[in-house]
Symmetry: C2
Subunit: 339 residues, 2 copies
Amino acid sequence: MTELNQRIRLAARPVGIPKPEDFLQDEVPIPEPREGELLLRTLYLSLDPYMRGRMSDAKSYAKPLAIGDVMVGGTVAEIVVSKAPGFRAGQLVVAYGGWQSFSIAKPRELRVLDPDAAPVTTALGVLGMPGFTAYAGLLAIGRPREGETVAVAAASGPVGATVGQLAKLNGCTAVGIAGGPEKVAYLKTIGFDVALDHRAGDLRASLKEAVPQGIDVYFENVGGAVWDAVLPRLNTYARVPVCGLAATYNATKLPEGPDRSGALMGQVLTKSLLLRGFIQSEFYEALHDDFLRDMTRWVRDGKVKYREDITEGLERAPEVFAGMLQGRNFGKAIIKVAD
Amino acid sequence: MTELNQRIRLAARPVGIPKPEDFLQDEVPIPEPREGELLLRTLYLSLDPYMRGRMSDAKSYAKPLAIGDVMVGGTVAEIVVSKAPGFRAGQLVVAYGGWQSFSIAKPRELRVLDPDAAPVTTALGVLGMPGFTAYAGLLAIGRPREGETVAVAAASGPVGATVGQLAKLNGCTAVGIAGGPEKVAYLKTIGFDVALDHRAGDLRASLKEAVPQGIDVYFENVGGAVWDAVLPRLNTYARVPVCGLAATYNATKLPEGPDRSGALMGQVLTKSLLLRGFIQSEFYEALHDDFLRDMTRWVRDGKVKYREDITEGLERAPEVFAGMLQGRNFGKAIIKVAD
């Protein structure tokens, strides 16, 4: 083959929103799979907020990327060469190939896709990691009961939109928060009872007016100013699954005072709140089979809708990623890498 | 009767630690029980940190006291007059009579004590609300597993000492934090594996050295600087039952910045922490019978030890209460009101 492997690597630890020079693009020979491995050609690359965390060297649940590492990311790919029993060239898989056009994988790192069950890109969104994050966090931690009120921010994104629709399937009132009138209008079309624009003035006041009954489950994937507005509206015994804090990922230092961390603990105490951080992988063994079965049916039956924001060309990943961190995408951010 | 009812009422909302002039002492005629009620003579009054919260008008889980109200509090009392079927004069009960020498109660507000089962004052401590707080919070929220490490502050107090000893009964390493060498020495005598003095220098460093394995359950009843030292030592999946924030009850304004509330949420996320506020009453129906059965046996068998700090004279309650908020008591703070 004369084709090369196009790669995007981490060039520098970003300060704030990643800039083009924080990435390094290069082309190298396509790697050779060893016995038991597969060579994959990337078709689609998923862009997700958690990647910003991997670019920093702050201590977290996952090791940071080293400078020079290929950026990580979920992918939909085609098997080009299989040296692993049970897999054959031409099969489509969901893998973790990263920001590159070819990758090597071991069987335990991928899952074969049935392209007839659903469009393959859904394996990066509603039927993939974001969808499972919504499913596991809402059901296992949020535990919504019929008649309760569930709120979520970044509600037009793949996690938030799924949380809201699962809340409706569980007999709850769904409150979505998003940025801008277009996204807010979209939320109503997928079943949210209340849709609020966090860019349109005083979110705290509009929550108070639109959600007088208070919030029983707040699915936290944003943090920052939205959390500040939601916290006073939480009801006693509210549950807060915390799967992301996208608004703070680019922060370069602690915000100015006063220090409200003690007041936050005071709210936890006086309202008997539950806060629980989680990564979806914690629930994989217990819930992923149920998730795939349930969600595939709901998507097919139109009970859970999804929206994708697909950009063509691996080389555009850095700019699309930076835009996503600023809320510029509308739906699941995906890069189309190859046909 | 010519005897009068001695009362201590709230005179003003305290700023910081309550001062003598925040209370009003008076004497009024002894109240008359109506049909279905009982007249109780207070023998012992419990002093507990939560009372500071009731003196403020900040929104909380319980209504604040009004200015002029008799201070609330758990009591051990003797029935003087019974107009309720099934109760007779002379019986000892645990009740919620408040800071006064006589009170009126309804049957559902009290529980008859067996003075042969344990010293009656234990109904205000290890066998009462503080003991049940420790039992319910540790077992139902903290869920300690054998081999894990459980830490608690105010560890010589009735909640903390019970948490530590229950941790040992569950096969855990118990870490106690208290103020001053005398209390720290006491912790070792009741079975704590590690006992640290938060007044003796850098608690964060001493926790790191003495508890290198990290903390799996932190029973939070203090907040403030101890929490700041504990948070970096929490392990992934650590559980934090939050039953009190005594260090902050007297705060008059938010501390200076930077604002660390976002960083706290970041810790919740990256370590998959569970924070859960609670009041023991939430678990009363589910667990209180088990608690009384288990704890009465453990106390009788010497498996759970307790310590009381008894002061004679209702009129001393304000000063003892203020001292307790500053850690001056050593063991369960109790006022002996009458023989």
